[in-house]
């Protein structure tokens, strides 16, 4: 709107003491015309670029440039050694059509349930309970439940391999001990069970994250809303759906976004526990990226999978946050 305003006629400003306002000229801006968005004198502005510069250079060199390079690589068939041949969008077409790749993305979607939905559901259950009572020692429970988060995924994977171990692993031992010996399984070796077993590990890791985020959110909901609901005669369940759940919209979106990203990026868990097996029952896109680029010499395909993965992560994050915002209105 400032652009369509006529420029103020300017003349050298004279600070005539007590001069009539009409004779007083507006100051002469160096760029000509008025500067409605002129910076307040002394406010740091340009120096902002300097503050950002080092971080930006690193980002540009190690994220933006490789990203562009990845897009470029994804357009070629290349084994990493010899001269590549132009592939166009074939590598992307493979992502959709190649059954091995399709199933790896399908596995990632199944894992979403274990990484995102289940942890958030558990987090909500706990948040709903915490909302209704002053829980003493909540900080302690939080610290403990969050603990699996901080352990390296490699360690987690090694640990759970021991637990899932079919011969004398802890899970089968436990089942035998309580008389359910018939339920013992080769958890990571069975074609149908391997994927949910890997997923179970993820749920174990991430419900603490969801719980911490959601119980924090609950504590920000004004008590008056609960009082109002109670005065209106709401029971615990109604209260949860009428007050707690809507009040946690933002936190749920954050928890879902984070865990979704973790789910789609999952590499180390699969690499250590199953290496994608048995068969390709637990292969996931990130594992395919590694496998193709550094084991089987399909660099272009690996790059295409990586880019597709980034796009899927981006779309799902946007979607989750859109839904959360729409709900807010």
């Amino acid at each position: 709107m400032s652009a369509i305003e006529p420029a103020t006629p300017t003349s050298p400003a004279s600070a005539v003491a007590g001069g009539a306002a009409g004779a007083e000229a507006k100051p002469d801006w160096p760029l000509g015309g008025t500067r409605p968005e002129a910076r307040p004198p002394g406010e740091p502005r340009r120096v902002g670029y300097l503050y950002i510069l080092p971080a930006f250079l690193i980002l540009a060199g190690l994220i933006l440039y490789p990203l562009g390079h990845a897009v470029y690589l994804s357009l070629w068939h290349w084994d990493g050694l010899t001269t590549g041949t132009w592939a166009g969008l074939e590598n992307y077409a493979d992502v959709v059509s190649d059954p091995a790749l399709r199933s790896s993305f399908a596995h990632a979607l199944v894992l979403l349930a274990f990484y995102a939905l289940l942890p958030v559901a558990i987090g909500l259950l706990i948040a709903g309970l915490v909302a209704r009572a002053q829980v003493r020692g909540l900080a302690f429970f939080r610290t403990v439940i969050f603990l699996p988060q901080v352990i390296a995924m490699v360690v987690v994977a090694v640990m759970w391999r021991m637990i899932y171990e079919p011969e004398n692993g802890a899970l089968n031992e436990l089942l035998r001990a309580v008389g359910l010996g018939s339920l013992t399984q080769s958890w990571l070796g069975d074609f149908d069970l391997a994927l949910p077993s890997v997923g179970g590990i993820a749920t174990w890791v991430y419900y603490g994250l969801a719980m911490v985020l959601l119980t924090a959110g609950v504590q920000k909901i004004p008590q008056s809303l609960y009082d109002a609901a109670r005065v209106d005669g709401a029971g615990p369940v109604r209260e949860f759906f009428a007050v707690t759940l809507p009040g946690l919209r933002g936190e749920i979106a954050v928890a879902l976004t984070l865990t979704t990203i973790f789910a789609l990026r999952n590499f180390d868990l699969v690499y250590i526990t199953t290496k994608g097996g048995p068969g390709d029952a637990t292969s996931v896109p990130a594992f395919e990226v590694y496998d193709r680029a550094f084991q089987t010499g399909q660099v272009g395909s690996a790059a295409a999978i990586g880019i597709s993965l980034a796009v899927v992560i981006f779309l799902i994050s946007v979607l989750i946050n859109r839904v959360a915002e729409r709900g807010a209105r």
Binding site: I52, L73, I145, M153, V154, M162, R265, D268
Partner: protein, 272 residues
Amino acid sequence: MTSRTEQTLTYTILGLFSLLALAPIVGIVFTALQNPDNVNAFGSFDGIHLGNFKDAWEQGNFGSYLKSSAIVTVTVVVVAGTLSILSGYAFGLMRFRGSGVLFYVFLLGLMVPMEAMIVPLYYDLRDLSLTDTYWALILPQIATSVAFGTFWMRAFFRSVPRSLVEAARIDGATSWFTLWRVLLPLAKPAVLTMTVLLFMWTWNEFLLALVMVTDEGLRTAPLGLSFFQGRNTSNLTLLAAGSVIVATPVVVVYMFLQRHFIRGMLSGAVKG
């Protein structure tokens, strides 16, 4: 207000999930302490045999792995943390042309997973003869950390009362002085939480190390553990001891700072 049964239910469920979280961890610690000469099973307790740690340390070369991890992690946390404070300050409190677009670039850095960049990164760094050096582990990790850190610190700086910055400006402080002497003391919880997160993520990063280094002397702790596992699948106690060694530094940092850390998570999570 709430009934007694409900209270009991709440504590029962909290206790159950706490137990579930703890049991495997306690299990692996117990396993690491078992007598290696007995028949070993995950999670059973048969006394304290600290010798496993010594054996694992020597056979597994964990001293070297931990050193690599420490070098990489400390460098990344210090550099990325500092750069994030600087850029978060500019994005949070300064108005300059293009700041919106530039911030989207940082957000992009936050969204793009390492998995999407690892392939070109490997070839780019190899062309620069940087693979098989610490730089290959440090530089990409700084980049992803800076993307997150900027996002995190910007949220903090936006929550600072503007009048504080203006008071400092009228008092004659430069933007540099205002950042380090007026604002940063207030930022302690935010910086601390960021530090723990960056420490954790860097220490635990696996794919980057797997792809970038082949030299055994450069292996980080998680990578080292994965190779150690390959060699010792059958030796339960040794593997458990190695796992505990790798996990301990982060757990210790977390335990020391968990109070502030969780508080920082709570206040920072949904702002940005």
